[in-house]
């Protein structure tokens, strides 16, 4: 890769963007070799998501909103759900298949080969494969958001309008959410250096992110408050979907006074999570002892 660098450039190293694009292209080529499988995978993730819509369509036949005076009515909540899918689709497409493999690499000693490559190890093990079929949910999420917003925009009573800043802020906060989830995942996977096998930890990841799938207000009561605090400030999974979804859906017509501080905190939490995960990853690599041969 070094010979692709322009003459005169002093830093010799791989061009990360090109490497990533190569990874992405290779994965796509591979996926297209098994086209039926690709189709089945896409359809199956779409089917799971549609079933979720089914559940909430049923719930909203009986209830008017998720929580009293939270503003999460039917279409606001569908915007929330669409945001969840988009974020999860990105995580599943780019990181999930790789990081699942990471603990296998540690257990089998295959990590040696990754560490020998003249490229950042974390980059290599995080982005080697792209699961293109997972992006089907990104499309579905966008469609759901588009539809819900058109319903919100034409609703009776309180008008709903989109400030232009959202076009910048929404993608930015979606990426923040992805970064937070990625950091959490890398931290959990890195622990397999110390624990050997950690199937239960993956379940743990699933269950923790399960908390992020609902409006955070629902936890802010009674014995939920410790959970609310822990999952906002300690392991910030609650802000992952909530912040971008709130920006877009605007459940509360004049914004509550805590919404902007929360958005600001999310930026802070993102930077901190990424740094923490980088630190944990390096620590893990230092403790890694090869397992093969």
């Amino acid at each position: 890769m070094a010979d692709n660098n322009q003459i005169g450039q002093t830093k010799i190293g791989p061009n990360y963007l090109r490497v990533f694009l190569t990874f992405a292209r290779n994965s796509l080529v591979r996926d297209m070799m098994f086209r039926t499988n690709f189709l089945i995978e896409s359809v199956s993730s779409l089917a799971w998501s549609s079933m979720n819509v089914g559940l909430y369509l049923i719930i909203f036949q009986y209830a008017t909103s998720i929580g009293d005076a939270t503003g999460w009515g039917k279409y606001e909540f569908f915007v929330f759900m669409g945001t969840t899918w988009i974020i999860n689709a990105i995580v599943q497409a780019f990181f999930m298949p790789n990081i699942e493999e990471f603990s296998d690499l540690i257990r089998t000693g295959g990590l040696d080969f990754a560490m020998l490559k003249p490229i950042d190890t974390q980059f290599l093990i995080s982005l080697r494969k792209v699961s293109w079929s997972s992006l089907a949910n990104l499309l579905l999420g966008s469609v759901l958001i588009g539809f819900s917003i058109s319903q919100l925009a034409t609703r009776q009573g309180t008008p709903w309008s989109l400030p232009p800043s959202v076009f910048l802020l929404f993608p930015m906060y979606v990426l923040c959410g992805v970064a937070i989830l990625y950091s959490l995942m890398i931290c959990l996977a890195a622990t397999s250096v110390w624990l050997g096998r950690n199937q239960t930890l993956y379940d743990f990841w699933f269950y923790i992110t399960n908390f992020s799938r609902y409006p955070m207000e629902i936890y802010a009561r009674g014995w939920g408050i410790p959970l609310f605090v822990a999952f906002t400030f300690l392991i910030p999974v609650l802000v992952v979907v909530n912040v971008p979804a709130r920006l877009l859906a605007q459940p509360l017509a004049p914004k509550a006074n805590w919404e902007w501080p929360l958005a600001l905190f999310t930026l802070f939490a993102t930077v901190l999570s990424v740094l923490a995960s980088r630190w944990v990853f390096r620590k893990a690599l230092l403790s890694y002892r090869s397992a093969s041969s």
Partner: protein, 276 residues
Amino acid sequence: MMSLASLPTQFSCWWMVFRIALEERLAYRGDFALGTLMRFLPIITQIFLWSAVFESVNGRLAGYTLPDMIAYYLLSMLARAFSSMPGLASTVAKQIRDGEIKKFIIQPIDMIGFLLLGRVAHKIAYYTIATLPFALVFFLCRGYFSSGWPSADVLLAFLLSLVMAFLLGFFVDLCIGLIGFWFLEVSSLLFVYMLLNFFLSGHMFPLDLLGSWQFVVNFLPFKYLAYFPAAIFLGKIESSQLWIELGLEAVWLLGLICLARFLYARGLRRYSGYGG
């Protein structure tokens, strides 16, 4: 098939099958108990979600109060612990595909009996370890069971429905696996089944929420896998209907057993021993 073998030999053979499966399962106890406890974590989210949903509902949602709803999820989880058969269909299909099934043809052991006994052992091993986490969670959540213990006959019907849920779950999964004789790869079929199962069994939500559509799921066997036991316990099924419904479940079960036997016999006839 086993008419020549004496009854004691036959029994000791099945006893051995059962014990091997049991010990295989008890190998990783710690991981297992922790995993079971963790499986209850989504219940926490469900409690908060439904508490929030009930805020904009007048006390009852499709006949369920908030405690009823939480109790329903806990009970349906218990029912799923009986009826879910992780990996059964895919294992059967895989054995057909790579020819491992030959061992049942040449050995004097009936495959369906072997698999059933293996599952019974797995489930028993599962309950011996999972009882503690289950008991703990149910104890912590006892406040949601607002009407207390049901009467003795309802309790009996509940237990019966759990046992039948196990058998029904087993034979449905087995039938899907046996379709592998015709298709070899059943993973997409299995996926469709899991999807239907999740939605129509009542695992996702109480089927009463379907309102006027409920009659559709009433004609399907899926509801016995999760909804039915929970509904019995919560008194959602009238006592006059109770035993009729259980009878219907038994008919479904009988039908599925016959279907599995039929598929197995037919499948063996067209089986040609792929793989080495």
